[in-house]
Symmetry: C2
Subunit: 287 residues, 2 copies
C-alpha cells in the first residue's frame, strides 16, 4: 500500500492533488480510480460489474480492448486525510512501458446519453460543438509523446481544447514521430510500426469496429480509446501498441440498437489514421 | 407538358396543392422537384451539379444509389398562376412500379449541418431528440405499403412523428408484409425477397456503407434513404427492390473526414433490418 502514487503518464481526466481525488497506481500493474461524484462513480462501477460478467461479450473483446476489473477497494486519500474513498481496481494500462507515448481520444460526435438531464446535455453539446467532436466524430482529450532519448512532448489542456481538424491531424502525426521533445517534428517515423501492420492500431481498431457493428448491449457515450506504446519497444517483438477503451461513467444500456454514435466516430478515426499511414507510404508531399 | 401531375405515391416532403409548391411527375420517368425556399433549393442544385460531375464519385455508386440529374426546368405552378418556378429534373424513382411500397428513412442521429445558423440547429435538434433519430440513428419519415390486391396502408404524419423504437420495428416489419390494407398485419411474407438475398435491400445498403467508410467528399445531413419495391414483381426476375438517396438541401462539403453521422445511422439501419430478416428465419417467436 505504501507504493501507491499518482500515475506519471496520465493524459486526461481528474488528477490527484493535495485537495483533489485522482487515480493511483501501485507500480505492480494495478490502477485505482476513485469513484466519481454525482452518481458517475456508481454508474461506472455498475458498468464494470455488468460488463465483466455479461455472457454476450466475447472474451476476446473483453480481454483485448478493456481494462480488467478487479472489484473495488477503500483507500485513504490525500484529498481528505483520515477518510477513505471507494476506488475501482483496474489493470494499469501503461504498466511496463518504459517510454510511454499515450493518447486519449474521446469517441462520438455526441457525448451525452439521450436521456441525460437537460443541464448536462446543454453542457456536453456546447463542448461537442466547440471541439472537433461534431465535425470529426472524435476529439483528442490528451496526448504525450516520449522518445527513446527520454524527451517528452505534452501539450497542455488549453492547447488541446482549441484544436481544429488540421490540429488533430498534426497531433496524430506527431504521436508517431520520433522526436518527443518540444522541438519535435512530424517525421512519422513510427507510423508503420504503431498504426500499421498486423498487430498495429488500425488492425486492432478494425477488430473493435466489427464488434460495434453487431453489439446491442451498451452505448458508450463519452468513452475514450486510449492508445499507448513504448517508443523503446514498439518495433520489437511483443512491443505491439495497446488499444483500450476507458471511462464508462456515461455508458447506458442499449434498446436493441447498435451504438451508431460510437461506431461512426470509430470509423472516422480509422479513416483518419489510415490516411496518415497512406500518406507516409506515398512520396513525401507538403501537408 | 400537359401530363404533369402530383405523384401519387409520395410519402414524405412537401406536397403540391392549390396554394403550395410540390413535386410533379410526367408519367414517362421524370420527377420535377421545385427548388425550395431559403437557399435550400440553390444548395440542392449545387449538390446535384457538383455530384454529377465529380471525378471521385464511382459511377457504380452514382448510378445505383442516386437519382439521375437532368438539369433544371422552369415550370408554371398551380401555387402562383401565371408565374413559373425552377425545378430540378430528376429520375422518377417510382417509375414503373404498379403496386409501389415505399418508405423514406431519414439517416443520421444529427440532421443539422455543424455550421448551420443557430435557430435552425435548435429546431433540428428538437426534432432529432423528439423522434428516434438520436436513439436509433435514423427515423421513418414516410411509409406506404401496397399489396398485390391493390390495398394500401399509409399511416399519416402525426402517427409517424410519435413513433418510438418498437414502432419503427413494427413499421419496417409491416413494410415487407403481404397485407397492405388498414387491417394488415406483420406476416413479413416478403422479408426475404425485399430485405434479403443477393439484390435485396441489405446487400445494397452494405454496398452503400462500404462507400461511406471511405468517401470524404460530402456530408449528407438530413438526407434520406428511399426504399421501394413493387409488390407484384419483387419475387420475379428484374423486380429487385430499389435503394436510393434523396433530399440533398443540407449536404455540405467534407473537410477530409468521412460522414460518420450518416455512416453510423446507416449501420444502425442495416443491423435493425438484418434482425428482422433473422427473426423471420428462426422459429416464430412473440415479438
Amino acid at each position: 500500500m505504501s507504493d501507491l502514487r499518482a500515475p506519471e503518464h496520465q493524459v486526461a481526466g481528474h488528477r490527484a492533488a493535495p485537495n483533489k481525488l485522482g487515480p493511483l497506481v501501485d507500480g505492480a500493474g494495478l490502477f485505482y480510480k476513485p469513484l466519481q461524484a454525482l452518481d458517475r462513480g456508481e454508474q461506472e462501477l455498475a458498468f464494470y460489474t455488468a460488463f465483466s460478467a455479461h455472457p454476450d461479450v466475447p472474451p476476446r473483446i473483453r480481454d483485448t480492448f478493456f481494462p480488467r476489473f478487479h472489484g473495488t477497494r477503500l483507500l485513504p486519500t490525500a484529498a481528505s486525510p483520515g477518510e477513505s474513498h471507494p476506488h475501482l481496481v483496474l489493470d494499469d494500462l501503461l504498466d511496463g512501458l518504459a517510454a510511454p507515448s499515450v493518447t486519449d481520444i474521446k469517441i462520438g460526435a455526441c457525448t451525452w446519453p439521450p436521456r441525460a438531464p437537460e443541464p448536462y446535455v446543454t453542457k456536453c453539446l456546447a463542448k461537442d460543438r466547440g471541439s472537433t467532436s461534431v465535425l470529426l466524430g472524435f476529439r483528442v482529450s490528451g496526448v504525450m509523446v516520449s522518445d527513446a532519448s527520454g524527451a517528452v512532448w505534452r501539450p497542455d489542456r488549453s492547447e488541446l481544447k482549441g484544436t481544429d481538424i488540421p490540429g488533430v491531424r498534426r497531433m496524430l502525426r506527431r504521436y508517431v514521430s520520433s522526436a518527443g521533445g518540444d522541438g519535435g517534428g512530424e517525421d512519422c517515423a513510427l507510423a508503420a510500426a504503431v498504426y500499421g501492420g498486423e498487430g498495429g492500431v488500425l488492425a486492432q481498431l478494425r477488430e473493435l469496429k466489427a464488434w460495434f457493428e453487431v453489439q446491442t448491449l451498451f452505448h458508450f457515450y463519452s468513452a475514450s480509446v486510449l492508445l499507448s506504446y513504448d517508443a523503446n519497444a514498439v518495433t520489437a517483438p511483443g512491443g505491439a501498441p495497446r488499444v483500450k477503451l476507458v471511462d464508462f461513467a456515461h455508458v447506458v444500456e442499449s434498446e436493441g440498437v447498435i451504438d451508431h454514435n460510437f461506431l461512426g466516430g470509430l470509423c472516422s478515426l480509422i479513416k483518419f489514421i489510415d490516411d496518415i499511414v497512406s500518406s507516409e507510404k506515398a512520396p513525401p508531399v507538403q501537408v
